[in-house]
Assembly symmetry: C2
Homo-oligomer: 188 residues x 2
Amino acid sequence: MDNNNKIINDIDAIPSLVQSKRQIDRYNLDIDAQAILVASRLMAAGAKLGHASEIHFSRFGLSTGRYRLLADLEDNEGEELPSQLAEHLGVTRATVTGLIDILERDGLVSRRTSSDDGRQRTVILTEKGAKKLREMAPEHFARLEAMVGLLNIDERSVFLDLLDRVTQGISALTGELGSKPKGNISNE
Amino acid sequence: MDNNNKIINDIDAIPSLVQSKRQIDRYNLDIDAQAILVASRLMAAGAKLGHASEIHFSRFGLSTGRYRLLADLEDNEGEELPSQLAEHLGVTRATVTGLIDILERDGLVSRRTSSDDGRQRTVILTEKGAKKLREMAPEHFARLEAMVGLLNIDERSVFLDLLDRVTQGISALTGELGSKPKGNISNE
DNA sequence: GAGATATAATTAGGCACCTAACTATATAAG
DNA sequence: CTTATATAGTTAGGTGCCTAATTATATCTC
């Protein structure tokens, strides 16, 4: 027998409203249980999506980060500095170095030292890298489209709007307590 | 000077519609650009939230996973088997072992070998663990509530509904190509 | 032009989570 | 009762991402 604990991730413990309510009641907090439910569900969805994304890209021998790096290179005429890549992807330079290491090992990108600034190392999308993107595009985009297939056009617009505002709200987790995120408040 | 690349994560490269359109056009695919935008934004939001969550919990000396484990224990009279925890949290038993190791080291939970089945090890929420949850609850829930503060009550309901359907759609990334996720389709 | 300082990329080491292999106990079959 | 098999938990090793420290180059100031 190989792996006996494979089903676990499919059960997907999604948080319920009862659960949220119980947690709040336990400490007599003046908090809206539904708000907590939304937050919990979004966290669960984010984790699930992240995991699914890794599985998706691993089919093409890539990780989420390495695919995003390749796609960004393609969007910039196949040539960028590591620091630009880090900014575009929203990760640190250290992470970019690691991503490039593996992509270079696999021949999908190459590094070249810049002529005008000896500190810079230009990252170049190789023909093999471009081919990889070309080959995976149909399936990749079809799957992404299928993912939101249960929403119709109008619902997608609404979802985008709401998601955008919740995304702004994420700073409430990391920022000053009580400081409101910038943006128009449609509440209260 | 300590860290010169700290600002990077605040810029937050959010994907744009133009970007999605360009990628699709490049390969002449018959794909709805807005669908791709929704998928990309959700991925970005998920990653951002995951990161913010770790920062949030690290203020209390916990990680996201370790907090969820403690909260689940509290929800089950402070006593559970590792396998139950794994199922509730949606992670593997190996991961649970690691979470417990650190929580036990910090005195927030303890392990006890079961009397009726020698293979089982009951995990118990200690008084210190319960106190930790009690102390962090007000700030924790206040921050979660603030996160969705830019949505009013009605919008939260709508968001929950849409998010739920998109979450179902995530299986399109990992499952058979062309297989539709179960659930009522409000589209087409 | 020498020394301080800024910047680009990398290396070193850490955490969360994973899969696969292993250990120990329990149970079923001959 | 012994051998095979299932199950609970752990260990070993890998990936993705992080922060902090390091190396190498460029620039600014005297």
